[in-house]
C-alpha cells in the first residue's frame, strides 16, 4: 500500500517535471523571442535592460535552471505584456473563480447524473431509460460552445430571464454552471447506469432482497455503494473536462476565471503567462489524478489487498 503510494507520487513528480521542461523549451523555440514585437522600437540600452530583466540575455540552459529554481519557490515570473503583473498572483486571483464555478457545476452534475443513472438502471428498456440515455448522448456529443450559444439565445435573448454574460451577481453564475454541468451529467448517468446494472445482477443483491430488505435499502445501501466504484475512476477525467470546458465557457459568459486569462494570453502572445498557466494546469491535473487514485484505493478494499498478497 505504502509502496504503491510512493510509486504513484514518484510518477506524478516525473510527469510534472517532463511537462514543465518540454513546455519551457517549446515556448523558447518559437521563432523570435518573447520581447521581439515590442522591443523593436526601443533604444539599444532599454532593450538590453529588458532582456536582462527577463533573463533573456543568458544562455538557454541557464534560463531553464533559473525558471526551475523560481518554480520551486512558487514564482512563475512576470507577465511580458503587462510588466509588474506577476503570473503567480494572476493565477492565485483567478483560479478560485474557475474553481468555484467548476466545482458547483461538477457537484450538480454528479448529483443529477447519479440520480438519472439510477432511474435509467431501474427502468431498463422502458421510456425513462431511453430518455436518460438520449440526454446522455446529447450531453457527450453537443460541443459546450453550441450548448452555451443555444442557452444564451433562448434563455437570455428570447426569454430575457437571465443576463447573457457578466460577472458579480449570483444570477451571472447560473448559465455557466448549467453549461459546464451538462457534460458531467451525461457521463455520470451513462457510467452509473451500466455499473448499476452490473451490480444488480450480483448474488449479494439477491441475498439482500431475500433478507427482506426494502427495495429502497437494497438500492441505496447495497447496489449504489458498489456501483459508485467505477464512477471514481472517471472523476479525474471530468475534473479536467470542467476546466478545459471553462476555456470557452468563461470567455462566452465573461467569467474572469483562469481559463479566460489563459486564452487571452494565448491570443496576445504573453509567453510567460502561457508557460506559467500551462504549468499550473498540468500540476492541477496530475494532482487530481493522484488524489482520485488514492480515493479509489480507500473506497475499494480489493485494490488494497491485491498488491500485498503478491
Amino acid at each position: 500500500m505504502l509502496r504503491y503510494a510512493i510509486k504513484r507520487i514518484g510518477y506524478a513528480v516525473v510527469t510534472l517535471f517532463i511537462v514543465v521542461t518540454v513546455t519551457f523549451f517549446l515556448m523558447r523555440s518559437i521563432p523570435g523571442d518573447p520581447l521581439s514585437h515590442m522591443a523593436r522600437a526601443l533604444p539599444e540600452q532599454t532593450r538590453a535592460n529588458y532582456y536582462a530583466k527577463y533573463g533573456l540575455d543568458k544562455p538557454l540552459f541557464t534560463q531553464y535552471l533559473m525558471y526551475m529554481k523560481n518554480l520551486l519557490r512558487g514564482d512563475l515570473g512576470e507577465s511580458v505584456l503587462y510588466p509588474g503583473r506577476s503570473v503567480s498572483e494572476t493565477i492565485a486571483k483567478t483560479s478560485p473563480i474557475s474553481g468555484l464555478v467548476g466545482g458547483i457545476a461538477l457537484a450538480i452534475g454528479f448529483v443529477i447524473g447519479i440520480t438519472l443513472g439510477i432511474i435509467a438502471a431501474l427502468n431498463k428498456n422502458r421510456w425513462p431509460d431511453y430518455l436518460v440515455m438520449f440526454v446522455a448522448i446529447l450531453g457527450t456529443t453537443i460541443p459546450v460552445f453550441v450548448f452555451a450559444s443555444l442557452l444564451q439565445y433562448f434563455v437570455s435573448v428570447k426569454l430575457g430571464w437571465l443576463p447573457p454574460s457578466g460577472w458579480g451577481q449570483p444570477r451571472h453564475l447560473v448559465l455557466p454552471i448549467i453549461v459546464l454541468s451538462f457534460g458531467p451529467v451525461a457521463s455520470f448517468a451513462r457510467y452509473l447506469k451500466s455499473s448499476m446494472l452490473d451490480t444488480l445482477s450480483q448474488d449479494y443483491i439477491l441475498t439482500a432482497q431475500a433478507k427482506g430488505l426494502s427495495q429502497r435499502d437494497v438500492i441505496l445501501r447495497h447496489a449504489l455503494r458498489n456501483s459508485m466504484l467505477p464512477i471514481v475512476t472517471i472523476l479525474a477525467g471530468r475534473i479536467v473536462g470542467v476546466f478545459t470546458g471553462a476555456f470557452v465557457v468563461e470567455r462566452m459568459f465573461g467569467v474572469p476565471g483562469i481559463g479566460f486569462y489563459y486564452i487571452s494570453s494565448i491570443n496576445n502572445n504573453d509567453y510567460t503567462m502561457i508557460l506559467g498557466t500551462t504549468v499550473f494546469y498540468a500540476a492541477l491535473f496530475v494532482i487530481a489524478q493522484l488524489v482520485v487514485d488514492f480515493v479509489y484505493m480507500l473506497v475499494d478494499p480489493r485494490i488494497r489487498i491485491v498488491p500485498e498478497s503478491r
Binding site: 510518477y11 516525473v14 456529443t141
Partner: protein, 307 residues
C-alpha cells in the same frame, strides 16, 4: 434350409454418415454477419444514412450552391435564408450555404484523417508493446502514461501556439501528437488478452506458425476494436478542431470550418441566429451520428454480443 438373403437388403438407405455434419446453409463470413447485425440496429443505420448525406453535401455542396465560398457581395450582407441564398449570407455577403459545406470539408477531413493517423500510430505502438510484453511493454506503457496525464486540449493549444502556422497540417499534427495514446492502450490490452486465450495456446500446440496466429487470431480480434475506436475518435477530432477554431487558434480566414463559422457568428447571435445555428447543428449532428454509428458498430462487430 438356409434362406437366400439378397444383397439389396444390406444397402444403406438411411442418413449418410456425414449427413449430420453437413452445413445446411451457406457459411456467413464475419463481415457479412456483422453487417446483418448492424442493419438490424435502426438507430445506427439511420446515423450511417445521415452521415452519407452529409458526406455527399460536403463534397458537392459548394458546387450546388452556385456561389464561391469566398465571393463577397457587399450589397447583400447578413441576409436571412432565402431562395437565392439557402442559408443566408454572412457579414461580408458571402453565401453561407457554400461556406457551411466548404467548412464541413475541413471539419470532416480533420476528423477522418486525424482518427486514421492516430489509430495507425496507436496500433503499431500498442501492438509492439502488447506482443513483446515484459520490459519493452513496461517502458512503452510508462511513456504513454506520462503523455496521457497531460490534458489533451492543453497539448493541442500549446502546439498550435508554438507551431505558429495554422494550416490544416499543423492542426492535424497538434491533435494527433498525443491522440494515439488511447488507441495504443486499447490495442495493447486486446493483444495481451488474445495472446492468453486458450485457442491461441491450442494453435501453438498444434504447431501453427506465429505469423499465421497473428493473421488468423490477433488481427481480426484487434481490428474490430480498432474500427470502433476510430469511429468514436472522429467526433473527438471534429470537436477539437471546432474548439480551437472557436478560440481563434484553428483554421484561419479565408478558409473556414464549422467551428470557425460558429465562432464568427457567435458575436452576433442575438441578431442573426441562423448564422450560428446552422454550423452548430452540423457539428452536433456529425458528432452525434459518429457516436451512434460507433455504438452500432461495437454491438455488430463483437461476436460476444450475439444473442
Amino acid at each position: 434350409m438356409q434362406e437366400e438373403i439378397s444383397k439389396e437388403l444390406f444397402q444403406i438407405i438411411g442418413p449418410e454418415d456425414n449427413e449430420a455434419e453437413k452445413i445446411a446453409r451457406p457459411r456467413v463470413s464475419y463481415l457479412r454477419d456483422a453487417w446483418r447485425r448492424f442493419r438490424q440496429n435502426k438507430v445506427a443505420t439511420l446515423a450511417l444514412i445521415i452521415l452519407g448525406i452529409l458526406a455527399f453535401m460536403v463534397i458537392f455542396g459548394p458546387a450546388i450552391s452556385g456561389y464561391s465560398f469566398e465571393e463577397m457581395d457587399t450589397t447583400n450582407r447578413n441576409a436571412p435564408p432565402s431562395r437565392e441564398h439557402w442559408f443566408g449570407t454572412d457579414k461580408l455577403g458571402r453565401d453561407l450555404f457554400a461556406r457551411v459545406w466548404q467548412g464541413g470539408r475541413v471539419s470532416m477531413i480533420i476528423g477522418l484523417v486525424g482518427a486514421f493517423v492516430s489509430s495507425f500510430v496507436g496500433c503499431i505502438y500498442g501492438g509492439i508493446s502488447g506482443y513483446f510484453g515484459g520490459r519493452v511493454d513496461d517502458i512503452m506503457m510508462r511513456i504513454v502514461e506520462v503523455l496521457i496525464s497531460v490534458p489533451y486540449l492543453i497539448v493541442v493549444i500549446l502546439l498550435s501556439v508554438v507551431l505558429k502556422s495554422k494550416s490544416l497540417g499543423t492542426l492535424l499534427l497538434a491533435m494527433t501528437i498525443t491522440g494515439w495514446c488511447g488507441i495504443a492502450r486499447i490495442v495493447r490490452g486486446q493483444v495481451l488478452q488474445v495472446k492468453s486465450q486458450e485457442y491461441v495456446l491450442a494453435a501453438q500446440a498444434l504447431g501453427v506458425k506465429p505469423w499465421k496466429i497473428i493473421l488468423r487470431h490477433v488481427i481480426p480480434n484487434v481490428l474490430s476494436v480498432v474500427i470502433v475506436a476510430i469511429t468514436f475518435d472522429i467526433p473527438g477530432y471534429i470537436f477539437g478542431e471546432a474548439f480551437l477554431s472557436f478560440l481563434g487558434l484553428g483554421i484561419q480566414p479565408p478558409n473556414t470550418s464549422w467551428g470557425a463559422l460558429a465562432a464568427t457568428a457567435q458575436s452576433m447571435y442575438a441578431f442573426y441566429p441562423y448564422q450560428l445555428f446552422i454550423p452548430a447543428l452540423m457539428i452536433a449532428l456529425t458528432m452525434l451520428c459518429f457516436t451512434l454509428l460507433g455504438d452500432g458498430l461495437r454491438d455488430a462487430l463483437d461476436p460476444r454480443q450475439r444473442k
